[in-house]
């Protein structure tokens, strides 16, 4: 399409190198053959799925199919926005993500700076392996482990607290404490894996800068503060902006694995509500809610990309 248009506008400039798509298809057929299956997967499993978004504008019943459902315009969205769980889900999603951003984000930076200062090679290697462990575990395993650690009566942490003569703490069974545990487990799960990117940035710091700082009499603390940190600033900014783009996202698996009947105040987030409505066969409402989340998500990603580029960084897109 676009190519045809350009030939129409400036025919003279293109006569030299203009070759039809058949030419390239014949010349590079092997490359097109390599792309055939991947593109087929993308088209079938991603782009065909987009057609399902139409359900958000239909009064959809699974038995009737698309054709048998009535088009209702934005009625479904109006219904969703008015629903009492909707505001709660949006607020909770934002709350959990903002808390993650505040507390989980700085931890890998601190750990990377500390790891960088460790001079005992074997200690560094072993601790890094251990720190990567939580990243590789499923949320079910983490959730089950969290209950083994933090349950009020049987959790080992509460056993230790009781042995010390204090009353047990309902880490996962009371709303405020649940929020605390949720954030804590998030920090724990991401702190090690997050160091990889910062350690990479630190190894790229010019060694001469440290030499110069030493000559000026800076100790290791001052070197860290005035050489390392400024040098990895752009990595930090990029990571921060990427996180901003995810503010409306939500980890369904993490919340579901950590939720229980006793602490329900903060567990209703958008993906959880989508699942709840799905179980209640409210396909249209559920789709509309998911679409709302996706659209806000894309807007946030574009915004954060713009901010990154304004700050002189590479951007994400």
């Amino acid at each position: 399409m676009a190519k045809q248009k350009s030939t129409a506008v400036q025919p003279s400039a293109n006569t030299l190198k203009k070759k039809g798509p058949m030419y390239y298809l014949k010349r590079d057929w092997q490359l097109y053959a390599l792309m055939l299956l991947p593109m087929l997967f993308i088209i079938v499993f991603k782009y065909l799925a987009y057609t399902g978004l139409s359900v958000a504008f239909l009064d959809y019943k699974i038995g009737k199919g698309y054709a048998g459902s009535k088009f209702v315009g934005l009625e479904i969205f109006k219904k969703v926005f008015k629903h009492r769980d909707f505001t709660k889900a949006v607020v909770n999603t934002l709350l959990l993500n903002v808390l993650d951003l505040l507390f989980s984000f700085p931890m890998p930076i601190i750990l990377a700076l500390l790891l960088n200062e460790i001079r005992v090679k074997w200690f560094k290697r072993v601790t890094q392996t251990l720190l990567y462990l939580p990243h590789f575990l499923s949320w079910v395993v983490i959730g089950a482990t969290a209950y083994a650690m933090f349950a009020t009566n049987t959790g080992v942490v509460n056993t230790l607290i009781a042995n010390a003569g204090h009353s047990p703490i309902p880490f996962l069974q009371e709303d405020a404490w649940w929020l605390f545990s949720y954030v804590l487990i998030g920090i724990w799960q991401t702190m090690g894996w997050g160091t990889i990117i910062y350690l990479a940035a630190i190894t790229n710091v010019n060694a001469e800068l440290y030499e110069a700082a030493k000559v000026d009499g800076a100790n290791r603390w001052q070197q860290c503060l005035h050489v390392t940190l400024p040098c990895i600033r752009s990595t930090i900014v990029v990571m921060l902006i990427m996180q901003l783009g995810k503010l409306m996202g939500g980890s369904f698996e993490r919340i579901v694995a950590l939720s229980n009947a006793k602490a329900t105040e903060f567990t209703t987030t958008i993906p959880v509500l989508v699942y709840k409505w799905f179980q209640g066969n409210k396909f249209s409402e559920s789709t509309a809610l998911g679409l709302f989340q996706s659209v806000i998500g894309v807007i946030l990603v574009i915004l954060s990309d713009k901010i990154a580029k304004k700050l002189g960084e590479d951007g994400l897109l």
Binding site: L34, F45, F136, V140, A144
Partner: protein
């Protein structure tokens, strides 16, 4: 031994300047903080492992902390039960099968696409890259995905756990960046001039030269599939035999809506559910714990190159 002791003593004779004290304090601070952080990563699992190997009575009395407590040293009964629970073994089999097929297909698609999309002479690569990356930022959502699975008649089959997610744009991005960064363009061009086809170049040059990133992406695919359970929660409803291990574990432990099948069988001594749960957690986590440290060198390199620029 004696010489190192002697040099250590000599070192101590150096004056304790302010700089040296700060140096030492920083060393101690780093080692303590990093040490404590890494201990929090492993201690919970040592606790679970100890629980899974203990006698019921000690677990019920909350006596087990980090060492297994059993009158017979260690108690393997819980593992015995897990291995004799037909539904858990079925879940394990499903998970292994799905993970292997998923990773194989995913790797094939990712390598093909990453190579083609890094060839500068390839017309339409920008459009295709955009088409693929767009799906990473704008997802259709779980319900449209579910409806698609329904239309394709894949619900409650093994394919809904394999096909929809086995080509991941993010992994493609990392692999593409690695191919661009680590394989010299001149190498591929000279092979082309010698008349090698793209298939030969991909199989004989690019893939053998990219072992670190191949290992990394294979690990990402395999771990991702092994650990995920939300798709199975949506897609596997009636066909209980197809529940992957993590979903089975979710129903057993987190939702506690199912009980262990062997519990129904008349066994002399009932195993405490806490002990069984512990054994199951270890069972579901151990395969990954055994694999990732060996690929650590690769995935640290691989993600470093890939993550720098999107």
């Amino acid at each position: 031994m004696t010489t190192t002791a002697a040099t250590a003593v000599e070192k101590h004779k150096k004056p304790w300047t302010k700089a040296r004290v700060i140096d030492l304090l920083i060393d101690i601070l780093c080692i303590v903080v990093v040490g404590v952080a890494s201990l929090t990563c492993i201690l919970p699992f040592i606790h679970i492992l100890a629980k899974s190997l203990s006698d019921n009575a000690y677990v019920v009395a909350n006596k087990v902390i980090l060492l297994p407590l059993s009158d017979t040293g260690i108690n393997l009964e819980a593992y015995n039960k897990v291995f004799h629970d037909p539904s858990i073994m079925q879940s394990l089999w499903v998970t292994v099968l799905v993970t292997v097929v998923f990773t194989a297909i995913g790797m094939f698609l990712t390598v093909c696409a990453a190579y083609a999309l890094t060839r500068p002479e390839f017309h339409g690569r920008k459009v295709m890259t955009f088409m693929i990356m767009f799906t990473m930022y704008f997802t259709a959502g779980t319900i449209p995905d579910y409806l698609l699975m329904n239309q394709l008649h894949m619900l409650d089959t093994i394919w809904c756990l394999i096909l929809p997610l086995c080509f991941a744009p993010y992994n493609l991005l990392i692999m593409k960046n690695n191919f661009q960064g680590s394989i010299p363009e001149s190498l591929i061009e000279s092979a082309r001039l010698d008349g090698a086809s793209h298939f030969t170049i991909l199989g004989k040059i690019v893939v053998p030269l990219s072992k670190p990133i191949m290992a990394t992406i294979a690990l990402f695919y395999a771990v991702g599939r092994w650990n995920a359970y939300s798709d199975a929660l949506y897609y596997i409803k009636q066909n209980v035999a197809l529940r992957p291990l993590q979903l089975k574990l979710y129903y057993l432990i987190v939702a506690a809506s199912e009980s262990f099948q062997t519990e129904g069988v008349a066994t002399v001594s009932m195993t405490n559910p806490e002990v069984l749960k512990a054994a199951c957690i270890i069972f579901a986590a151990v395969p990954i714990i055994c694999v990732y440290p060996f690929i650590q060198k690769y995935f640290v390199q691989g993600t470093m190159v890939g993550a720098v620029k999107g």
